[in-house]
Amino acid sequence: MLLSILEQGLIYGILALGLLITYRILDFPDLTVDSSFPLGAAVSAVLTLAGMPPVLTLLCAILSGALAGLITGLIHVKCHVRDLLSGIITMTGLYSVNLNIAGKANVPLFSGDTLFKNAFTKSLPDFLRPYSTLLIILLIALCAKLALDWFLSTKAGFLLRAVGDNPAVVTTLAQDQGRVKILGLMIANALVALAGAVMAQQQRFFEISMGTGAMVIGLASVIIGTNLFHRFSFLRSTTMALIGSILYKACVALALQIGLDASFMKLVTAVLFLIILVSSQFTRKKVHIRV
């Protein structure tokens, strides 16, 4: 069970990295997430079935997610639609897109190679094989985290952090704050779609409703991580989000372990999120992003 918590936690950790951008940095409640997660999964699943190497399908999933973020960003910035509604519009529309990409509501990947089951993983020594899935997920999550850390330390990353903190500063620096916001949404949803793709590869199927509640899970992870560990000044926010996600998955697993039926999964997710949200209001000061 520990293995599955770590695997799931790290996959959703990639999603949490995306939400760190929208929620913590941009202060944008982005519901696109609930659809860009299955979008990444659908793209990865369909391309894998078509014979593309699974690693390459991840890249395609990243691009598809960035595109979803671009659409939400354009709706918000160019059409002046409120942030929450922009996300909801894209989320609703993407449902049909996902369904059409996948062709049907459920795409199994049981036959053929996946990211976690291929010639390479089969060649691993026996003692490593049970952990191969976890190790590959860990590698991807770490790459995503390090890439985001690096981006946030660049000039473009500085602007992204500034636009969420104080858009007026970005404007007086003669930069278009709308473009910076769109860029942030693209990166965030690219990460979310990557998480979806890895999820599809790990569970070996795509399912149209797999994104329901994705935003809540990601947000809960970010809030747990950043509120619990903000005293540890050596930890970056990205690390906190990854750890937060693992802790969150552990909480859900625990709730199911003490006898709750799996059909209560989403209810557990929601109630847990509420508890985390309310208890986080007791932290005295605003938690800043730390890079």
């Binding site: 473009a156 952090r161 620096l173 278009d176």
Partner: protein
Amino acid sequence: MFELRHIDKVYNPGTVHETCLFRDFSLRIQTHSFVSVVGSNGSGKTSLLNILCGSIPVDGGTILMDGRDITQMREFRRYARIGRVYQNPAMGTCGSMTILENLSMADNKGKRYGLTAGTNRRRMEDYRAMLAPLGLGLEDKLGVQVAALSGGQRQTLALLMATMTPLDFLILDEHTAALDPKTAEIVMLLTDRIVREKKLTTLMVTHNLRHAVAYGDRIIMMHEGHVVLDKAGEEKKQLQVEDLLGLFNSISIECGN
């Protein structure tokens, strides 16, 4: 040179709250002049700055920057040549970022914000040298989050950030109003020094009549969208705080305040 020609500005048009602030308002700010703008609340001072910077649209007329029509130019593009400091010290800085990060970001204005490192170690000594003479101790706090600074420290930083890179115009929107008298003095002296050194064309809105009299080479008093007093050069030097206060009071009495 800034020029406003026949500006019309109506707030809440078509509603019962419709208020016409500017009708056929014209003003010319000469290159390298330092203009103080005073006036009561609602007289149009801040609206004037917002119109120049493009923060609010106008309903008629033209805005010229060095002879070029910028009426339709978007706000962020205008700031390529304009620096601006707001009344609220929090408006000009990013609280969640460190002093070094804020300065580095401002230092890059006019260049591309690409994928190169956000901070430049080699510039750190320059930043320290820039902060040390202020006597606020900021030079030892480069790694501190700006949110942890006092209002005065933050506003000084905002002023430095707004004027770090080459620019032509400086817009000051009551930038000492939220500070204690001593810090306000420090910020005002620094402002004056920067304006002289960089030969900036400056527009400063202030409620501090003493500052308006002591600094700059031209003074404008506004009332209900009109310029009611405009003194420059020798005439301005003769002007005393009492004269301004007298005019201020007579206007207020006219309005029945």
